[in-house]
């Protein structure tokens, strides 16, 4: 469904992505794990057209998309839930969700269909229904995260890019968000590319994973295998520290 071939991206002189290649099949959940600055967010932004790659190819549904503006990418069916939620704080919850369906309004899709999808988002996140008239900026971090996911779903994406949905949230809220992602996969078969610091939760949910370090993919494989990999365990899951120290 999505394939990145030899992507190289620069921030000024910083070589942020070095020959990154990865792929997602339809219906898969794939996670990118790695430390801060490894290039996880850059990969998502390269796919979304926010930081275009200097070299390499992004192919989505057999079409090259690396030169497109962010709004065109959304139109093709790739929605991103950006890092730090970035909901529209001065607007109400309902307005935020409506704007998620902006392109569908523009292409004159029936309001009933859009409204139905909003009901679906409310079913996933009942708390959004309670707060539909409230300004997004007045909600807690967890609620804003739910809103950001809901907003992305309103575009009816084929592929959902999630950037650190658990960042700065209480463990219980993180659990709820991962539960919803799991539910999404089961009910709608949405393909998901998930960037996470919380490697344990991410690998538990995902089918496959890529491990990044300083802009390079250093490992890839089925999530279950990565979870058992000694290097991943040590570096990202925080296990077996003792063994290392004693050696």
């Amino acid at each position: 469904m999505l394939r990145l071939k030899n992507i190289n991206t620069y921030y000024g002189k910083v070589h942020a992505l070095k020959n990154v290649s990865l792929h997602l099949a339809e219906g898969e959940i794939v996670t990118l794990i790695g430390a801060n600055g490894a290039g996880k967010t850059t990969i998502l932004n390269t796919i979304s057209g926010v930081t275009p790659a200097a070299a390499g190819e992004v192919v989505f549904c057999k079409e090259p998309v690396q030169a497109l503006q962010p709004d065109r990418i959304v139109k093709l069916g790739i929605s991103q839930v950006p890092e730090g939620r970035q909901v529209f704080k001065p607007l109400s919850v309902e307005d935020n969700l409506e704007l998620g369906a902006y392109l569908r309004y523009r292409s004159r899709e029936s309001k009933a269909a859009i409204h139905e999808d909003m009901e679906r988002v409310f079913a996933l996140f009942p708390r959004m229904l309670e707060r539909r008239k409230q300004l997004a900026g007045t909600m807690s971090g967890g609620e804003q995260q739910m809103l950001a996911i809901g907003r992305a779903l309103m575009a009816k994406p084929k592929l959902l890019l999630l950037d650190e949905p658990s960042m700065g949230l209480a463990p219980l809220v993180v659990q709820e968000i991962f539960r919803v992602l799991d539910q999404l996969r089961r009910e709608t078969g949405t393909t998901i590319l998930l960037v996470e610091q919380n490697a344990k939760a991410a690998l538990k949910l995902a089918d496959r994973g890529y491990v990044l370090e300083t802009g390079k993919v250093i490992m890839e494989g089925p999530a279950a295998e990565l979870m058992e990999n000694a290097e991943v365990k040590r570096a990202y899951l925080g296990k077996d520290k003792k063994e290392i120290w004693e050696r």
């Binding site: 529209f88 307005d95 704007l99 575009a155």
Partner: protein
């Protein structure tokens, strides 16, 4: 000091203030969508008046037809300005953009002077000039036109920004351009929209005020600065705060001119501008931003 006099100054101040408010909202809309102060805003105000005159005298159109034509032509000018001067910029840093708008302003003013000369002209009032007595004061029908049209435009603006998907998208852009792009909003289109709306509003302001204050190729400078001042008082909001800012400015200016000396009229606006920038740069009603993560 008599009550009648105060009332008179306040009333005429309110109608000039309404003009400042319209111009100020134009500043705010572009600022919110793009982060730049469009110093060419005043020129669209001038174009409104001068084009109305052009359609009236050169093409012999009646007033009711000349006005929409002038608004349409000024709007096209705003659209072209964005397309030709703002969008093609390679490095759209705020300082570059602001300098471009200053350049654009000088260009538009220069062209108008070449086309229409340096004379001051008057546009006929919309419905006669028999004064109307209110209390001990009198106002002209044109004052009522100004107030009514301002109310309509502010209400239309409010409806657009709060109840249409395109208006909400514009607010989303103003708050966070990157996130707006990520939900599929074409940010460049919104920027173009903001120029269209602002130039239309500016030209209307220029038209409705022209029967009272006359118009010439260079009226845009002062009106633009006063509108900018209103927007600063309102904290660059594109809503009621700027309207209040404009009205406040108009009334203070008018009272100052009446009670102290009319020579200080413009100075008062700029003293207020400086005071606001020194003491409350977030605007009279703004609160400092607080961030929640």
């Amino acid at each position: 000091m008599q009550f009648d006099q105060l009332l008179q100054y306040t009333l005429s101040g309110l109608s000039t203030g309404a003009i400042y408010a319209l111009i100020g909202i134009g500043f705010s809309i572009i600022y919110n969508a793009t982060g730049i102060i469009n110093f060419a805003q005043g020129e669209f105000v001038m174009l409104g008046g001068m084009l109305t005159l052009f359609f009236l005298e050169a093409l012999k159109l009646p007033l009711w037809a000349a006005i929409p034509c002038a608004v349409a032509a000024s709007t096209v000018a705003g659209l072209l300005f964005e397309r030709l001067a703002i969008r093609p910029l390679r490095q759209p840093t705020p300082i570059n953009l602001v300098i471009i708008t200053i350049g654009g302003s000088i260009l538009i003013r220069g062209l108008s002077m070449l086309l229409w000369g340096k004379d001051t002209h008057a546009i006929p009032p919309f419905s006669g000039d028999d004064p109307i007595a209110i209390g001990g004061a009198t106002i002209l029908p044109q004052h009522l036109w100004i107030l009514a049209i301002t109310v309509i435009i502010v209400a239309a603006n409010r409806f657009y920004f709060y109840h249409t998907i395109s208006g909400k998208a514009m607010r989303a852009c103003a708050y966070n351009r990157r996130a707006a792009g990520l939900v599929g909003i074409d940010v460049r289109r919104m920027v173009l929209f903001s120029f269209i709306i602002s130039s239309a509003m500016g030209s209307i302001a220029g038209i409705i005020v022209a029967p009272l204050t006359m118009t010439a190729y260079d009226v845009g400078v002062m009106l633009g600065l006063k509108g900018f001042c209103a927007a600063i008082i309102g904290g660059m909001s594109s809503g009621l705060a700027t309207v209040v800012g404009g009205l406040l400015l108009g009334v203070l200016e008018s009272l100052g001119a009446g009670l102290i000396s009319s020579g200080y009229k413009d100075a008062i606006a700029f003293i207020i501008l400086l005071l606001i920038l020194f003491i409350r740069p977030q605007g009279l009603f703004g609160k400092a931003e607080s961030e929640r993560v």
